[in-house]
């Protein structure tokens, strides 16, 4: 049995806001490089990772430097990760789903024949 948890002390969710209201949604469970984490319905994968205090998503192809997101609207490709075995998923735009397996990409991705 896997135990899923929100990285302790890293909760980044806005509780009070003068204009917007954010009601907590249903919990979703996913893994990031094997680590079991909690996100919420309505989150993108990138938002859920960030809520867990994780800003480091993948590594650059050549120098393997850590990569996070930059634009969060699907332009820059900096947030690409492997999701459920599929490479180059824009995590900033992809809704989080129950049981997702999210992994860092550390090398150039090639298309299988």
């Amino acid at each position: 049995m896997i135990e899923y948890y929100l990285e302790s002390g890293e909760e980044m969710r806005i509780v009070e806001h003068p204009i917007l209201s954010f009601e907590k949604q249903n919990e979703l469970h996913f893994t990031y490089n094997g680590k079991a984490l909690i996100g919420y319905e309505g989150d993108t994968i990138a938002a859920a990772l960030h809520d867990n205090g994780i800003m480091h998503y993948s590594n650059s192809i050549k120098s393997h430097r850590p990569r996070g997101f930059y634009c969060a609207i699907g332009n820059c490709g900096s947030c690409n990760m492997r999701v459920d075995g599929v490479d180059n998923i824009k995590t900033c735009m992809t809704p989080l789903k129950e049981g997702m397996v999210v992994e860092s990409e550390n090398a150039e991705v090639t298309i299988d024949a």
Partner: protein
């Protein structure tokens, strides 16, 4: 292959406004949006708009998006909307290809409106790729759309309106803004926004920029450096600021790729943010019946994008023989609104840019 009268690429303020006018004119319309939500960048803009009532002044961006979307509901029989769908290519015979998830699609349109918007510029400095260095728009998306703080202590680079407004929104979300850096000798945005920040104790440092960032998997600190009037670094002026996120707000550039790769004639105009399509008074590019409007034709405010969208919608419909019932009135009104939006000292850049593009207003 599906056939449609009009395909609009981009469901932001320009695309939504164009869709409404085209539907009123009697066209069948397909609206394609890459993101999950319609509304473009309006969906994260919690501030109230400036300008006049016809461009929804005093209304928050998030509410303007709702109005524009609701305006289309009456036309659901003639309108199809594809969200989460990325257009891949546009061909000279008006064929468009797109992908939605793993689903590949193809359309042929009589006319096309490109309203793809813009993307955020980046800044060159040492270690500018450390996670936690985000565009100002990205921070708005994270905070205002998903309710997640980018960090607890943020430094903002750039004091244009976006930099100032996002700094204020960070404070509203409970984040500490440690400083706003501005490379030039004066604050770029409206002073009403800047003074709000100063009253809240945020230092705005002019003639100052970011020199380097520190951290491995997360940003931890930056060094700032002062610039002299010739924009050269002043020796010995470096200072450190601890932060767990750095926000880059140094302008936008048009998302021109679809137009460029399709063979539209493009011009590089610094004042408009980069490469923009050459277009005539009918908002038509050099590809016949391919129109463009909004930030993809030059960086402005969402207010101008809405007005340009209306004009492009009018012109695209007209080109297909569908004259809007109020064509002349609407045309005169929208041109007048654009003129108003671009007047005064804040519109200098856009006026100069349009002049260079050969489009006098």
């Amino acid at each position: 292959m599906r056939e449609r009268d009009l395909i609009i690429v981009g469901g932001g303020p320009a695309g939504l406004s164009a869709a409404k006018i085209a539907l009123e004119s009697g066209l069948s319309v397909t609206l394609i949006e890459r993101a999950h939500d319609l509304g473009g960048q309006l969906v994260k803009q919690t501030h109230k708009f400036f300008g006049s009532k016809s461009e929804y002044a005093k209304t928050r961006g998030i509410d303007i998006a709702k109005i524009l979307i609701a305006d289309l509901e009456a036309y659901s029989s003639k309108l199809e909307i594809y969200q989460d769908t990325t257009v891949l290519a546009m061909y000279p015979d008006h064929v468009l290809t797109a992908i939605q998830g793993r689903n590949y699609m193809k359309w042929k349109a009589k006319a096309i409106i490109i309203a793809t918007g813009a993307s955020e510029k980046f800044l060159a400095f040492e270690n500018n790729d450390i996670p936690g260095i985000y565009g100002a728009g990205a921070i708005q998306t994270l905070m205002n759309q998903y309710g997640i703080m980018p960090g607890s202590e943020v430094v903002m680079v750039g004091s244009g309106n976006i930099g100032l407004i996002v700094s204020y929104q960070l404070i509203q979300a409970g984040v500490k803004v440690k400083a706003v850096l501005e490379a030039s000798d004066h604050i770029g945005g409206y002073l009403v926004h800047a003074s709000k920040l100063v009253r809240l104790g945020v230092p705005i440092k002019t003639n100052t920029t970011v020199k380097r960032a520190y951290g491995t998997t997360k940003i931890e600190r930056i060094d700032t450096v002062r610039l002299d009037p010739q924009w050269q670094e002043v020796e010995g002026s470096e200072e450190s600021i601890d932060c767990d996120a750095l926000c880059i707000s140094v302008g936008l550039s048009p998302l021109h790729q679809l137009l460029s790769m399709s063979g539209c004639e493009m011009i590089y105009i610094n004042e408009l943010g980069g490469l923009v399509p050459k277009k005539n008074e009918q908002y038509e590019t050099t590809m016949p019946r391919v129109f463009a409007c909004g930030d993809v034709t030059g960086i402005e405010e969402a207010s101008s994008a809405m007005v340009e969208g209306k004009l492009a919608g009018l012109m695209a419909s007209y080109s297909l023989g569908y004259e809007h019932p109020q064509f002349e009135t609407l045309k005169a009104e929208t041109l007048h609104q654009l003129q108003n939006l671009r007047q005064g000292p804040c519109g200098i850049k856009i006026r100069q840019g349009l002049e260079k593009a050969g489009e006098a207003l």
